[in-house]
């Protein structure tokens, strides 16, 4: 088995692991981590598509590589937004939970930004 196929299998396993984390972990921060695991698993599968497209003297197809690079940056932006939401939730309620009926403390500044 080539190293590319191996990395692809790891990518598949990561998607499974991450999906489980997103479903089963109650804490928002860990859902963010798990979501990032799914993302990087998909990137790895993309990576082996690139590797198997080696041609014309290149050891990997540049197009999927470029897409993975943009993907990593976009995933970071999404994580940053998700982390900011989690921290804001924690500031507002004193808890970091996604349960809608969890206790809330009244906001300290009247109207809040959405």
């Amino acid at each position: 088995m080539s190293s590319a196929t191996l990395a692809g299998l790891v990518g598949a396993a990561l998607v499974g692991l991450g999906l489980y984390g997103v479903i089963a972990d109650p804490q928002p921060l860990r859902k963010i981590l798990a979501f990032n695991l799914i993302g990087s698993g998909v990137f790895l599968v993309f990576g082996i598509v690139a590797r198997k497209g080696a041609a014309a003297g290149l050891s990997a197809d540049p197009v999927p590589q470029a897409m993975v690079i943009t993907g990593i940056v976009v995933a970071f932006a999404a994580s940053a937004l998700a982390v900011a939401l989690t921290l804001r939730l924690f500031e507002e309620t004193g808890r970091a939970t996604l349960r809608p009926d969890a206790g809330t403390k009244p906001p300290d500044d009247g109207a809040d930004a959405e």
């Binding site: 860990r30 790895l44 598509v49 497209g53 470029a66 990593i72 900011a84 804001r88």
Partner: protein, 315 residues
Amino acid sequence: MSVLQALDVGLAFLVFAVAAWTVFAPGPFAATVGYVVYGLLLSLVWIRLFAVDVALTEAAIGSGVTGVLLIGAAARLRGAETTPAEEALTGLTRLFAAGLCLLVAAALAAVVLLLPDQGPTLAPQSMERLPETGLGNPVTAVLIAFRSFDTMLEKVVLVLGVVGVWSLAADRYWGGAPGEARAERPEPTLAFFAQVLAPIGILVGVHVFWVGADEPGGAFQGGAILAAMWMIVMMARLTEAPQASAFWLRLALIAGPAVFLAAGVAGAVVAGGFFAYPPGLAKPLILFIETFMTFTIAVTLPMLVAGPPRREPRR
């Protein structure tokens, strides 16, 4: 089995084990540290896939900048953990979820195993048109020339991310500065580290950006390293984040996509196609766009990590 194959198998197991730790770790902080380690190992995997540009991006953004973001969040959320009994799924749901995830992973693994050894590829086309761009690194050429629309929109996503993060600020902090204020007496160790590292890091960031035309590297990777340098100086409290309402900051945030878009429109007028570069001028134009993109990334990433404004605006 050769030594290299053994190394690959070991690395694969290690990546999988650390990812599993991230999902199953007892506490959020332990999970987050696991994720940072995972990002580092992933850049080793990318090296083994001969995708050095991706490895560099993963090292700078996936491991470095994301690590600061997540570890900072985990440390701030300490004590906010929910009790397991309160929210845990029941055993049956958990089993069902595990089965579903196993199914998804197995389907994906089957696809991976069924892929032909020589897949469809755009590598020959990329190499064929590469000389027209004047670049030597096909990945940079794809990013800035062949699929430039993608890359431009991706910059817009970054700006939208900043807008989203800023809009989470409480009303009275609107337009204020995010992060901690500059300290009169910064912590000496961190201040020393930041003072020594920042000049070297800026040099390396510019180097990575500059060699990106011909070697692995480019605007994303260089910009991320530059961003990290601004972040360490802010973490050491030698300086503070600018106010969200600062005009220069807003200009810096949109400079990359704006210049990119302007170049695209100019291409439609001059070179006969949206995002077409006039022949002969392609390389200087690409470097010009990349310079602004690097700058915008270097400003955007720290703003995303710093979070929403937390101090009242000064007038």
